[in-house]
């Protein structure tokens, strides 16, 4: 198969701080004047990419995974010629479309139709092409009635749909997509995935960055895992995802202790410090099994009084599918003030209807005016063990799905009666 993307030993260096310092001429002059008298502080260099090499054949759909700040977005920007590598070379052949954001270049004052033309031409479509595909785009976005309304009157959802409608009609040889699916409702996400699936079956090359492991696994045959600007693993999607998710599992020892987790966002005024699994009488739980009642205790430390915080918890499967997202906010549980110091909050689960598997969760705390105080992705795991959930002695495992419901099967009486008479006859 012909090759469409070749990345050869690409490195990209960012000098942290220096850019900021130099954007004002005055600062630059001052630093030039004072340079003889002061030792220059060593520039803080960040290698967003380091010696990255790989090739992608035409028709391949490749997922790129890695933690936040691993260099995925920089890689996509280098591939789309938005930014240039410090060293190394990139060759991309064919018409390339990069979708690093939905609705790039949308202008609030312009109408939906005008924005379709503008966005289309920014993404590299010809005027005639946009005109020819207009009806189909409008239908895709479902904004027919509002086509001549300025998009400042559009809802966020409408804007997204409009942006994606244009992107979906690009028909490129190489499509580069960055986390577009992270936004929008599930219906919209499904639509996006369908479009990418269509591109795949049409023999197009797709590079796809996402934190949604389920989507990556579904769409991509191959996966590249990047960490600290380097390719850690490149191979069959399922294997790479499994290996990647295992790195979170390795953090199990530190699970009880979240204080040392570096990869987190938020103001830090209040932080999660640990997680504990307890039974309903408050004793530590060694094994969590399907159907158990349990208490997950989240320990935190506040540096100062925190008014009206919301504590949140998101549970994912091993492949990154979101199982559930719950928080004190969802329950309208108002906590007027959390005093400074250590404390904990309990999540009572009356009936854990998860099937045996390994799950991961992410935690967050937001404040009254909704700044994020703390947010840790995939910070702990929950290993759910086999149990006799249906009291039948027959075990269920992860092949049976993700969840089970309290349930009964009921067979029609007449069928049973008929059967018993047959048995008697024989």
């Amino acid at each position: 198969m012909s090759q469409t993307i070749a990345v050869e030993k690409v490195s990209k260096k960012f000098v942290l701080g220096a850019l900021q310092r130099d954007t004002m001429l005055r600062e630059r002059l001052i630093s030039m004047l004072s340079a003889p008298f002061r030792r220059r502080s060593a520039p803080n260099v960040l290698w967003a990419l380091r010696d990255v090499s790989f090739r992608v054949d035409a028709g391949e759909v490749v997922g790129i995974i890695g933690r936040n700040g691993a260099g995925k977005s920089t890689l996509l920007k280098v591939l789309s010629k938005i930014t240039y590598p410090t060293s190394g070379e990139v060759h991309v052949s064919g018409r390339i479309a990069s979708l690093l954001e939905v609705g790039t270049g949308f202008h609030e004052e312009l109408t939906g139709r005008e924005n379709i033309y503008l966005n289309g031409s920014i993404l590299g479509m010809k005027h005639g092409e946009v005109t020819a595909k207009m009806d189909s785009m409008v239908e895709f976005a479902g904004v027919a009635q509002f086509l001549d309304t300025p998009i400042k009157r559009y809802s966020t959802g409408m804007r997204l749909r409009l942006g994606f409608a244009v992107a979906a009609h690009l028909d490129p040889d190489v499509l580069i997509v960055d986390e577009v699916l992270a936004v929008g409702d599930t219906g919209f996400q499904r639509k996006c995935l369908n479009v990418m699936d269509g591109l795949r079956s049409g023999g197009r090359t797709v590079l796809f960055v996402s934190h949604n492991m389920a989507a990556v696994e579904n769409l991509c045959s191959r996966c590249i895992w990047i960490d600290a600007g380097q390719v850690v693993m490149d191979g069959a999607a399922r294997e790479v995802i499994e290996a990647y998710m295992k790195t979170f599992a390795n953090a199990r020892e530190s699970m009880a202790d979240l204080r040392s987790v570096k990869d987190r966002r938020g103001s830090g005024e209040i932080r999660y410090t640990g997680v504990e699994y307890l039974n309903t009488s408050g004793e530590p739980l060694q094994v969590v099994r399907s159907g158990d009642s349990l208490v997950i205790r989240f320990h935190y430390h506040a540096n100062k009084p925190i008014p009206f915080p919301s504590f949140g918890f998101r549970l994912y499967t091993e492949f990154g599918t979101l199982v559930t997202d719950t928080s004190t906010w969802h329950h309208a549980l108002d906590i007027p003030l959390v005093p400074p110091g250590d404390g904990y909050i309990d999540l009572h689960i009356d009936f854990l209807n998860l099937l045996p598997a390994r799950y991961y969760f992410s935690l967050w705390i937001t404040g009254a005016a909704s700044p994020v105080h703390d947010n840790i992705e995939y910070c702990a795991q929950l290993e759910v063990e086999l149990s006799n959930v249906y009291s039948s002695g027959r075990m269920l495992d992860s092949r049976s799905g993700i969840v089970f419901f309290p349930q009964r099967w009921k067979v029609n009486e007449s069928v049973l009666a008929g059967a018993s008479s047959k048995i008697e006859e024989t």
Binding site: F14, L19, D22, T23, M24, L25, R26, R28, K77, S80, K81, I82, T83, Y84, S98, L100, E101, T104, G105, H107, E109, L110, E114, Y117, L118, S121, I122, L123, G124, K126, H127, P150
Partner: protein
């Protein structure tokens, strides 16, 4: 390398048109008075100039009524100065585009240079009305007007490229720009005719390429006196130099735009 730059520019010409079209559309949509701003601005300036320079200070105007004399220069000048201000900030104000999608960056200042021409046309219509009112007939030299206009467009584009690229790295440009434009107004023969200056100063004036183009524009349109071809010649040379320098500087810095902007 440079030929690739030019072919890219050509391949994306449709985007250039769309960016310019967006600028025009947005500008007129947001303003209540819409297109009339393109006339009001030079018109009010002309009134002030006529009052202070024409009447009070008695600045000569080559035998043309002072209002027409100054307005004829103010229309292209307004185009030039507002283009510099807008194009100088064009890369910064479109940073979301620069960091999210590839296209030749030079399209952004270029689009501003183009979209300003719509305003210029509005002003030109009013200028024509004024010429009818003052019964000033253009001569054969009228056919030279597009050449001088073209010179101004190229000059605006050259300076815009330099300012826009500088602005990405040094935000000082944003603050220096209004000042630069103001100074430039006074060293360009707008308020006064070139003939008003002593020969010594005229020599310095030649290095302001806007001087040759504006003077040429005015004298060819109003058919006022013989063209100062030497002045025009120097303007052309300086503009060509600025165009090449600007393109080279822009080309050299544009790779880092997305990282800094």
């Amino acid at each position: 390398m440079n030929s690739e730059w030019l072919t890219d520019f050509w391949r994306y010409r449709e985007l250039l048109y769309f960016l310019a079209w967006r600028d025009v559309k947005v500008r007129y949509k947001q303003a209540a008075l819409g297109a009339s701003w393109a006339v009001i601005q030079p018109l009010l300036t002309m009134v002030i100039f006529t009052l202070f320079f024409g009447r009070l200070a008695g600045v000569p105007s080559d035998g043309i009524p002072y209002p027409l004399f100054s307005f004829c220069a103010l229309v292209p000048w307004t185009y030039f100065s507002s283009t510099l201000s807008l194009a100088g900030n064009s890369l910064i104000s479109n940073s979301s585009l620069i960091t999210k999608v590839y296209f030749p960056r030079v399209l952004l200042p270029a689009a501003t240079v183009l979209s300003g021409l719509v305003d210029f046309l509005m002003g030109a219509v009013f200028l024509a009305l004024m010429m009818i009112y003052y019964r000033v007939k253009p001569g054969w030299s009228f056919f030279l007007v597009p050449l001088f206009l073209g010179g101004m467009v190229l000059l605006a584009f050259s300076v815009s490229m330099i300012l826009a690229a500088l602005n990405v790295r040094y935000r000082d440009v944003k603050y220096a720009l209004p000042f630069l434009v103001q100074i430039w107004l006074f060293v360009t023969p707008i308020i006064y005719p070139v003939t008003f200056l002593p020969p010594k100063m005229k020599r310095f004036l030649a290095f302001n390429p806007m001087a040759g183009f504006l003077e040429g524009f005015r004298s060819s349109l109003l058919n006022s006196h013989h063209m100062d071809w030497r002045l025009v010649g120097i303007s052309v040379v300086v503009t060509a130099f600025l165009l090449v320098t600007g393109a080279i500087y822009f080309r050299r810095t544009e790779r880092s735009f997305a990282d800094i902007v």
